[in-house]
C-alpha cells in the first residue's frame, strides 16, 4: 500500500487501524463532525484522514511541528469539534457547534484582508481533481512517487500520496529530511517521481554523485531560481512543475519545465484565465462549482500558464504560507506589546522570511518574545527578525504597508 520511510504498511494494516478507530467512540461517530489532527505518526495521520473521508466527516490537518496551544487555536478557528494532538486517544473537545457543511478537507489560506481563512474542499471535488491530475501526469503504476514534503499540506497529501494510490502505485513517504537519506531512496526506486520543494531539490542536486540521476522531479510551492532549475535539469530525466491553490488544489502541470515561471497546462477539470504577456492579470480559476481569484499575477500564452508574483502579503517560507495577520495576532496578545506588524524580507539563500516590528509599553527581551511565539506558532511562522520601534510607519492614508516595511534584504 505505502511506505513511511523504511516501514511498509499493507492494506491489512490500514483495515486493522480502521477497526481500532471503529472501537473509539469519538472516531466511530465522526461523520458530520470536524476533526483537527496534529500528529507526528504519518501512518496514523493518513489512516485517519482516509477513515474520516470514508465516514463523510471533515478533517483539518495541522503540521506536526505546531505546538499544542497553536494547534488548539488553529483547530478552533477552523470550526473543529475536537483536536487530536499527538495521539488518537485523548481528544481535546473544542466545540459542539454545527458547521454549515461537513465532508470537507479544511486548509488555512489568506483572506483578502490578510486574516487567515478556512478553505473547505469537499471530498468529491478532491476526487475530481485526482482523476484529472492522474490523467495528465506522465507516470504509470510502475512509477514510484517519493514524497519528500509534508503530507499535511495538499501538495504532499493529495498530489503526492492520494494521486499515487489512485494510479495504483505505492508511494514512499519520507518524513526524515536527511538529504542523503532521500538520495538513498532515489537509488532504490530508479523509476520514480520525486515530490519536493525547491530548497530540498537544490540541496539534492548538489549532493548527488557517482553519475546518479533523478528520473522525474516535481517542484511546487515557490519559484525555483533559474540557476537551480538548470542544475537540477542536468541531473534529471525530467523536471515537472505544478501550480495550484488551497481552494482548487492542483490546476496546472508543466510536464517538462525550462523556465521556472512556467506553470504549465491547465488540468482538464478547470478553466484558467490570466492576462497576456503584454498585460499580465490575476490568475482566475473556474471549476464546475466556483470561481477562484488567486491574487497571483500571471499570463497565458500558447496554452501555458506563467506565474509572475503574489499580489498580496502572504509570506512563503519554503512553500509553507505564513499569513502576517496570524503572527501579528499572537504578538499583540503579549500584554506588553502595543502594536505589531509582520512582513516579509527576502533572504538571499532561503527565500522569504518572516520579520516583525513592534511597539511595546515595557521592554521585552527578544528571547521572551520567541518563547511566547513558540507557544502558539510553528517554527516556520516565528519571525526571524524582531525590531523594536517607537512607532510603526504608516502610509499617508494611515494604513500600514507591509510591502514597504519589508523592502530590502534580510541582513
Amino acid at each position: 500500500m505505502f511506505f513511511v520511510n523504511e516501514h511498509y504498511y499493507t492494506l491489512d494494516d490500514l483495515e486493522q487501524q480502521y477497526t481500532e478507530f471503529e472501537n473509539t467512540p469519538h472516531l466511530r461517530d465522526c461523520g458530520n463532525r470536524r476533526l483537527a489532527v496534529c500528529m507526528p505518526d504519518v501512518f496514523q495521520w493518513l489512516a485517519l484522514c482516509l477513515f474520516v473521508r470514508r465516514k463523510g466527516g471533515s478533517i483539518v490537518p495541522i503540521h506536526p511541528s505546531v505546538p499544542k496551544e497553536g494547534a488548539i487555536r488553529m483547530a478552533s478557528s477552523a470550526g473543529s469539534h475536537i483536536l487530536l494532538y499527538g495521539n488518537t486517544h485523548t481528544p481535546i473537545e473544542l466545540s459542539e457547534q454545527k458547521n454549515a457543511r461537513e465532508g470537507v478537507l479544511v486548509q488555512m489560506s489568506s483572506g483578502t484582508t490578510g486574516a487567515p481563512k478556512c478553505i473547505e474542499r469537499s471530498w468529491d471535488s478532491i476526487e475530481l481533481e485526482l482523476e484529472s491530475y492522474v490523467s495528465v501526469l506522465p507516470a504509470d503504476h510502475q512509477t514510484t512517487s517519493i514524497v519528500a514534503c509534508p503530507v499535511t499540506h495538499s501538495y504532499g497529501l493529495i498530489c503526492g500520496v492520494f494521486a499515487s494510490l489512485r494510479r495504483g502505485a505505492e508511494p514512499v513517504i519520507l518524513s526524515n529530511m536527511n538529504p542523503k537519506y532521500v538520495l538513498k531512496k532515489i537509488k532504490e526506486y530508479p523509476k520514480h517521481i520525486l515530490y519536493g520543494a525547491p530548497a530540498l531539490l537544490h540541496t539534492l542536486t548538489l549532493l548527488i554523485r557517482d553519475g546518479g540521476r533523478f528520473d522525474c522531479v516535481m517542484t511546487s510551492g515557490t519559484l525555483m531560481p533559474s540557476g537551480w532549475l538548470e542544475s537540477l535539469k542536468s541531473v534529471s530525466n525530467r523536471v515537472l512543475q505544478q501550480y495550484g491553490c488551497s481552494e482548487a488544489g492542483c490546476v496546472a502541470i508543466h510536464p517538462d519545465v525550462s523556465d521556472p515561471r512556467e506553470m504549465g497546462y491547465p488540468l482538464p477539470h478547470v478553466k484558467v484565465e490570466a492576462g497576456s504577456r503584454e498585460y499580465p492579470g490575476e490568475i482566475i480559476i473556474r471549476d464546475s462549482e466556483k470561481t477562484i481569484f488567486t491574487k497571483d499575477l500571471g499570463y497565458m500564452e500558447d496554452g501555458v500558464l506563467t506565474f509572475l508574483a503574489r499580489m498580496d502579503d502572504t509570506i512563503n517560507v519554503a512553500g509553507l504560507n505564513v499569513y502576517p495577520q496570524e503572527v501579528e495576532d499572537v504578538l499583540m496578545a503579549e500584554p506588553r506589546i502595543a502594536e505589531a506588524v509582520v512582513y516579509k524580507k527576502i533572504h538571499p539563500l532561503s527565500g522569504e522570511r518572516v520579520c516583525a516590528q513592534y511597539v511595546c509599553t515595557q521592554p521585552i527581551e527578544e528571547q521572551e518574545l520567541r518563547e511566547w511565539c513558540r507557544e502558539y506558532l510553528a517554527p516556520y511562522q516565528i519571525p526571524m527578525e524582531f525590531i523594536r520601534t517607537e512607532e510603526i510607519k504608516k502610509l499617508p492614508n494611515g494604513k500600514i504597508s507591509r510591502k514597504r516595511l519589508g523592502e530590502g534584504v534580510l541582513a
Binding site: 520511510n5 526524515n176 529530511m177 536527511n178 538529504p179 542523503k180 537519506y181 538520495l183 538513498k184 530548497a199 530540498l200 540541496t203 548538489l206 549532493l207 517560507v317 519554503a318 533572504h347 538571499p348 539563500l349 532561503s350 520567541r370 513558540r374 517554527p379 516556520y380 516565528i382 526571524m384 527578525e385 534580510l410 541582513a411
Partner: protein, 92 residues
Amino acid sequence: MTREEILQALHDILQHQIELPSMAAFHEDARLNEDLYMDSIMILQLILHLEVDFGFDIPDEMLVPKDFRTVGSLADFLNRLQKPVTAEPSYD
C-alpha cells in the same frame, strides 16, 4: 579535524554561508532551533556545506534529532563520523 576545528567549521558555515542573523548566540551549548533560530531549510543547507565544503560524509540513514540539538552535540556527531567504524562489516 579536531573537535575544536569542527566547531570553527560550524561557526564559519553559519556565519558566512548561511548568514545566520542570530550569530551573537553562537556557543557550544546553543540549541540550533531554540537559540540560533535555525529552521529545517537552514539545517539542510548546513548539511550541504558540511558535505561539499568540508568533506564530511553524512550517513544516508535517518538522522537522530538529538545529534542536531546543539552546536556541541552536532560537533560530537561529526567527530564520531570521522572515526572509521571497524567493528561492523559493511554490506554495501
